[in-house]
Symmetry: D3
Subunit: 330 residues, 6 copies
């Protein structure tokens, strides 16, 4: 008698069930004493379970020969909580078939989601461009780049590592940076009304929107996250973002110096050469975009450390992206 269809993320300790899942990792390893096994992982939108498949179990050959990362599976398994995390005892497993959609299968049910709907993030970004950017050709150019890449942008994660590998991660970061750009640009334009040349708030805002646009070419979204393209590794998103801008600007009426300033913002946004910027920010606009980006990247890293650290005590471990402990409180 078939068990009822359930979600992987809803299985409780000891419960057996049928569910759809994405294979998100498979790695051939060997214990120190030479015993071979595979470490595999399956996930749905809210839970990822990772466990070993030993070479001498019945599923071993199928695992080794046929299971593939990025494929969807229908699985019957029992979940077992161990002191080493939840594990699956797989009873049955097969690739998802066309007819499974009748039972409700949809690839998106296995993929992690951003906090906010990517479409909403995209629309907010576009709205800022429309409301805040006064220079017509610049606003049009920016909207055009966003709209032409809408589909990819909605799916683009912010980084290649698994834990940020959710669709919309890119937009989440870019929107946050752009909001800070709006704040800083308006504040300083207000504080320094007599500056020559005047602070170009348009450029600060568009700089926020487009600073990372090169990730469209640097990364390649895959079902299980994103990976670097060869061009991305050899050239880098700062240069590729400038390419995207220049290609889009060919038919634009944007002022030449304004375009140059925007190219500069993109290639200088990481500020220091040791962080990969071929030039340091040489305009106030470039400096503000740098700070909006850098502060967002670092605070989000710190939030991630707080979310993911599993140690006890008032401080997190210092084995994390920031290589320092964070204070949680007592």
């Amino acid at each position: 008698m078939p068990t009822t269809l359930i979600k992987l993320s809803e299985l409780e300790n000891g419960q057996e069930g049928d569910f759809f899942a994405l294979m998100s990792a498979k790695e051939a390893l060997t214990t120190k004493d030479g015993k071979p096994y595979h470490r595999v992982a399956f996930r749905d939108a809210e839970r990822e379970v990772s466990f070993p498949v030993w070479n001498d179990v019945p599923l071993a050959e199928e695992c080794r020969e046929r299971w593939e990362v990025g494929e969807f599976y229908k699985i019957r398994a029992k979940l077992r909580e161990t002191t080493f995390g939840p594990q699956l005892e797989i009873r049955k497993i097969r690739s998802v078939e066309e007819k499974d959609s009748e039972e409700g299968f949809d690839p998106s049910m296995c993929l992690p989601r951003s906090r906010v709907d990517p479409e909403e993030l995209f629309d907010s970004l576009l709205a800022i461009v429309e409301e805040k950017v006064a220079d017509e050709p610049l606003a049009e150019l920016t909207s055009a780049i966003l709209n032409e890449n809408r589909k990819t942008l909605l799916r683009l994660p912010a980084a290649t590592r698994n834990h940020h590998a959710y669709a919309g991660g890119f937009l989440e970061h870019v929107l946050s940076v752009t909001k800070t750009c709006v704040h800083l640009a308006e504040k300083y334009a207000d504080m320094f009304p007599d500056l020559e040349p005047a602070l170009d708030t348009d450029l600060v805002i568009v700089g926020g929107v487009l600073h990372d646009i090169g990730k469209l070419r640097e990364l390649r979204a895959t079902p299980i996250g994103a990976e670097y393209t060869p061009e991305g590794t050899l050239i880098g998103h700062m240069l590729q973002g400038r390419d995207i801008l220049r290609e889009a600007a060919v038919d634009s009426e944007i002022d030449a110096e304004k375009l140059l300033r925007l190219e500069h913002i993109i290639i200088a946004h990481q500020r220091l050469p040791e962080w990969g910027a071929p030039k340091p920010p040489m305009t106030p606009e470039a400096l503000l975009v740098h700070y909006a980006d850098d502060s967002d990247a670092k605070i989000q890293m710190m939030f991630s450390v707080l979310e993911e650290d599993t140690t006890d005590g008032p401080f997190t471990s210092n084995r994390n992206l920031l290589r320092q402990s964070i204070f949680r409180g007592e």
Copy 2:
């Protein structure tokens, strides 16, 4: 017949006039070939004129023996624009006397002013504390520190160097930082509602208000700017700011851990040890205050470079605070 009273900043090339001025610099120098002279400067609120007084001119002895930096003078002089800047040919000079107030003398007429009235800046800062800081004892503690030092804060410049030496410079910087703190704190609290522990927006905002409060002890305001106290040089404003906070907190009901977190924000706000921070930011609140402060400091430096650079061409010289050229435009 006496010339009419005029302002130093309104004298035109070749015009002679009587005016009140502050002596803002006097330095005994010698040319490379051994000829001694004094370089002196006089200023009112909007213009500063700097020129040499040679040892063999009639005023030389008076200059050497009696003129003092920080004193106010009534001067009759002719202004002469030279390719080396404006210079004064002094006809008469005497110290300001009591009765000069009848003719309209007021020390503040000789002192540079901040863009905005310091009282207004102070009130804005206090208003943010009252409106945005929810924790009662924390808000009271912060307001108390501000109010107790109101008079000094209104006069405190942001730095010791001459060109920032205007009353209110400190408040201008602190208010700008605090506004960014409000923006960042509210944005991230909104984006990350489930963070544990939750982002403490109160601490970010108060951190902005108090991060540089130690400058009350590090610096000593003088008529011509500010200078370091010995304690300031040997101990530094980060530690001294923490002292001010701890002394004020003795009678407060502020939560102990909250106080500790605030102390940490103050000593960590310069982030990297090579910038003088004894500890790196170990809380999200400290990291946000760091970015709000650092971005304000650097952009204001860049604005100063743009304002003060006297070279021609599309770029400024690179002989400035930032040691790099800034693009002005073509």
Copy 3:
């Protein structure tokens, strides 16, 4: 028939015995192939034995559920030397009970001891203050700080890591630093009799005594070593040491500038900002205390490497605190 009571450190290979021991470590681990176990350690004053407790052995549950680091146990076990170090086969184990003191149990018998009796170290330090420090209020202030914290100081280890975790470690370091301070201060006062201002030998010596006094608040002694307090991690012993000094000085007649110089010595003793000093040494006294401290810390690290390295050959491994090989000789 009960085996005779013996010391853990006296057990020989293959010998079984009853002894008292402190549990000094317990860590839940898993082998690479997912097998769970606990690594535990027991110690007396002179030997620490560390070994795995597998999840399928009789004691496993008791180990997991009840044994606690920092508790004392009465154990019957056989010691077995393996190529992987000595291990214990535990036959019986129970928590120490009150009556065990009749059999001679005393917590101190399980704790590592410093080379020299901490009381002797304390007395030597106090004697230096009394003999060498001429300024009365300064000598009194220093002695008072030592005497008020005598009990804690006697127990304070020098660091948090296990291998230095012996009571008296702090005093051992401070006495050694102070002796070098005496040597350097007297030598340079003698060599440079005409210096203005004269070298203040009192300050150099007291600087040696108090440079690390903030560790009283940065660390918390535990039976198995020391751990950082939250205040210690967020603020640091240099600032906390200055706090202790300032609090103690409130009722002292110490000269204000002398106090300021001493505060400076404490916060500058690590010299470079990347080593955590908010200010570099700006007085000869601070520079000498820095060198006395730094040279003692580094040479003791090198001695530790020599003592603890277990490799063969003329050089130690370079996997140590100093990240370099040390020459032992051929």
Copy 4:
């Protein structure tokens, strides 16, 4: 009676003569004691003479108002060797007129020349491409870029500073780098015949030819040397060189991966981020081009230091581009 026409570089001490010269510098300065003057320089192909024009001499006004850097003049003057270098006492001076060509005036007679005729350097470079680069589309692309920019390349100096400001300086450097590329590529292809992928000698050679091609856009040749364009300062020759390559490749049949590898060589040729490279060399070809370029740049700097240093003794001063002394010999 007119003096005979002579070359500036042939004038001897005390000799008066008529000659054509380029004004290569004019700077408004003031002595420390406030005396204004202009420092001017005139040059022909082999000598540059720099001297002050005081504000109170007959020519002062003409100098201030009319002389322009980059213009050619016919001058009658006496050369005087002083302990402070050669100086000119100008008797007459006027701008060069059309008819002067009858007397033999030709602008190139006033410009410094490279050691070797730029046309010869250009031809040598082109010959290497033709003989050594086996891949047809790559060789054609490279030749096309060179030929299309032939006229500018012949005039391009290697750098903006005055002492390298000779036409052909760019080609001299590029040819030297390319020769080393040929040497290294052939040697290693020979030593490592089995490498996978095989070393692409074509790419190493073309990398040498094109590594600095972006200087076509980064710099703007002027009669008195070269100056940075705004695009050059804000974007930089590495990115601009990649642009030139990509634009030229649009209609080429060059293999896509080969083009990518060549783009990478160009942007990575300065190797370290702190030297401005957005990516480090990630292919053997890019690493070899880096070394060929870096070694040529540094040894030419050292040669320049040896040529230009004017101190006595076995070592040069350390006040030079390399910030170190060079050993000349005893």
Copy 5:
């Protein structure tokens, strides 16, 4: 029936055979769960096989007690390809005996070989000295040093790590460096004919030949590679190379300044202090030798990374000597 004699490097999967092999590694290890074993390796000239010997197998005691790294063995074993690399199932094993030479045993058959016969490399190096070095005493001194150490040089590997541990590795590097020295010296002597002092091509070439000669004393060749001598670790090959040169020069007629310049080349060839050079290159000759050496070392590292990396995909892993990924191609 005895299996036929075969080479270890010719054994195929599943094949059993008798062969001679050198034991190249033996390390006592324990799995994380405390199970002891030895990891051993055997090699012939072209293959090295590494595998565990568990403590409970028949050969375990013999392995632990008698097998020695650096000894030669006759082995009968079956080769088994596993997903974890090839492994040997040893049936029989004994030390090589004298009579085995009758069966064709020769120690050199078990040692890795350089790409080119070391004698050929040595002769090429000597030929360069004879043909290119014009200064008689210098050429003689150089040849003498090479000839006196001929036997050791033929066997010296380039480094201590196993994978470069082939006889001739040193000569391979030195010959490559020297060839680049010849190229650079001749090119620049040609380009800069008027330099004062003239570039000494002899010194550049001899500098290439002798720059690493101190490795004769820094390293000690062993059958399984090379190891550092205590003198090598405490003093280093740059200083030891200078010693060798000075000792050899005692009876030479070499010019004193030339000798000093050559000593300088040797100690400065690593250029930067953080790379171990006590002095930076202060002569053009020393700078050229530095570049010839540095470029060869780095490109050979990159080639090694490409040869040895076992990951898939367009890029190598970044876990290698260079700490970066290398592009292989798609």
Copy 6:
């Protein structure tokens, strides 16, 4: 009537007198406006007077053509205190002649003296070797090196710059370092009696005595200080000191490993590669010598800054060897 013979250092303001002096500096300079002059300095043991000689004064030609640095002169001059320091109005000047010794001229009367008689310093150093160094061959070797170079050592300054240019400066530094070595060696040998290998106090002490011995070859004493030899600049005193040691040890019975350890101390005494040490200290003895040397060098720099700084206020300027301000007190 001749003025009475007096010392330069005893002349008072306005006083004219005859005295002997050493010319310690002469530099051809030009003012910014092109006026040539020489800056010259004359000194006796306790005062140095520096002043300009203008090209148009009677003595100018004699100054330019004949006066030489390092020569002794008999001078009649009036001393005039100016706000720019004391200056000499020279009436008569001639080179010292043989007969002047009758009037009491002795070159040493014009040379600065160390605080303590160099012979006394030398004897103290030798006494430490004899009393403290237990190993006979080591003590003999050390004494022999000192005694053989006694004459030069007595005259050797510590550095090349003028203000340390007194005979005995080298011995002053070495004796101070050696005293600290004795203190540290004895303290740690006492604290760590069980160390393996035991701390070799002999080596620490001899290391102190000989660490800078290479300055015998790196520097060349001149009447006006010391200058680098070419060998000193190209090779350096650490390597040259090791040479001196090795040459002296040829006929010694010193233990080979002890000699190696001593060589290592000498080349490692500056500890970090960026400070010129080819190897870091790899023995406790080398580390202690490093600290004894480094602390003495830095504290003496700080004392020099205090002695030489001429600014007012509680802090010195930061324009000094240490690039930081020193606190003098209020």
